[in-house]
């Protein structure tokens, strides 16, 4: 059975109008290097995934467990193995007040907006010193540079 027919059948005769397509992957994330923009998602763990509720359910129930992922890429079926990461781990729960400003680890939310790896230093509020230095709100500082500079201050 061809892929489109299989995806249509998986959604039932009334609802089968499309499929999930990769829009972006965040650098350093579980999908990077495996999934590519434009991949049409066919199955995860052997089951067709054609809607977001099923997708999110599958990811939430299989944190850190490698999953067989099948996509259609450029007309070819590609078999991948990807383990979902823990969303809580890429969602910062603490911040650092520094010289009147606020920085914290780059969240997946913002990493997705700026297409940078999670965990870099994110400037939520520049405050005095970073403001004087011309570092704008939403700026992202590479970790090594930030740690180096911060230690100099100490």
């Amino acid at each position: 059975m061809d892929t489109e027919a299989a995806l249509r059948e998986a959604q039932g005769s009334d609802d089968g109008t499309g499929a999930l397509v990769v829009e972006d992957t965040t650098p350093g994330g579980p999908g990077e290097g495996s999934l590519e923009v434009g991949d049409v998602l066919v199955t995860i763990g052997g089951a067709f995934v054609t809607d977001f509720v099923t997708l999110e359910g599958t990811l939430d129930d299989n944190v850190a467990i490698p999953l067989d992922v099948v996509v259609e890429r450029g007309g070819e079926t590609v078999n991948l193995v990807i383990a979902p990461g823990n969303l809580h781990e890429v969602t910062p729960a603490r911040l650092l007040e520094v010289c009147g400003g606020v920085v914290h680890a780059l969240s997946y939310q913002q990493a997705r907006n700026f297409q940078l790896p999670v965990g870099s230093v994110y400037v939520a509020e520049p405050g005095y010193v970073l403001g004087l230095a011309g570092v704008a709100k939403h700026a992202i500082i590479t970790v090594s540079f930030f740690l180096f500079s911060y230690r100099q201050l100490e």
Partner: protein, 164 residues
């Protein structure tokens, strides 16, 4: 208020009960137009939802209505009011499938809601619960088959073999 995520349907009459524009009480009405709208993009550098559909209806809800339940004629919540278009009446409601799951996982945290716990007022100890969330750090979009065929070129997509 019962949650009824599967009761959402195109053409369903709904009411949005809340505090629209800061009013003490507002009830706006609308007809669900879509169940499969792309997650609205509010800002290039702020919070945007993704990997979910949104419900759409022309309820004209503005600030103050966020978080309002979107209820059907039976008083069941079919969506959660989330946002709207400033130049228009379109409003976007979060579907409740995953909300229902989060609430189900949260229940055991509360001593009086958990069926197995002692419901006496003395039992006030809240337990910590986990709500597992997994991510590929990948955004998916729902695309019609016409567009999917263009991603992979029509003939290839039709011919790609899929084991059954």
């Amino acid at each position: 208020m019962p949650l009824a995520p599967d009761a959402a349907a195109v053409g369903l009459e709904v009411r949005v009960v809340g505090n629209d524009s800061g009013e003490k009480l507002s009830i706006l009405s609308a007809t669900l137009a879509r169940l499969d709208r792309d997650a609205p993009k509010y800002s290039g550098k702020g919070y945007n939802d993704f990997n979910t559909f949104y419900l759409q209806a022309a309820s004209g809800t503005k600030g103050g209505s966020s978080g309002s339940p979107v209820i059907d004629a039976k008083g069941r919540a079919v969506g959660l009011n989330a946002g709207s278009k400033t130049k228009g009446t379109a409003a976007y409601y979060l579907p409740l499938h995953r909300v229902e799951r989060a609430l189900r996982l949260l229940r055991p945290a509360c001593p009086t809601v958990d069926g197995t716990a002692d419901p006496s007022p003395a039992d006030t100890e809240w337990r910590s619960v986990e709500i597992p969330r997994g991510t590929f750090q990948t955004t998916f979009m729902y695309k019609g088959f016409d567009e999917c065929r263009r991603y992979v070129s029509y003939s290839y997509f039709r011919m790609g073999q899929q084991s059954e």
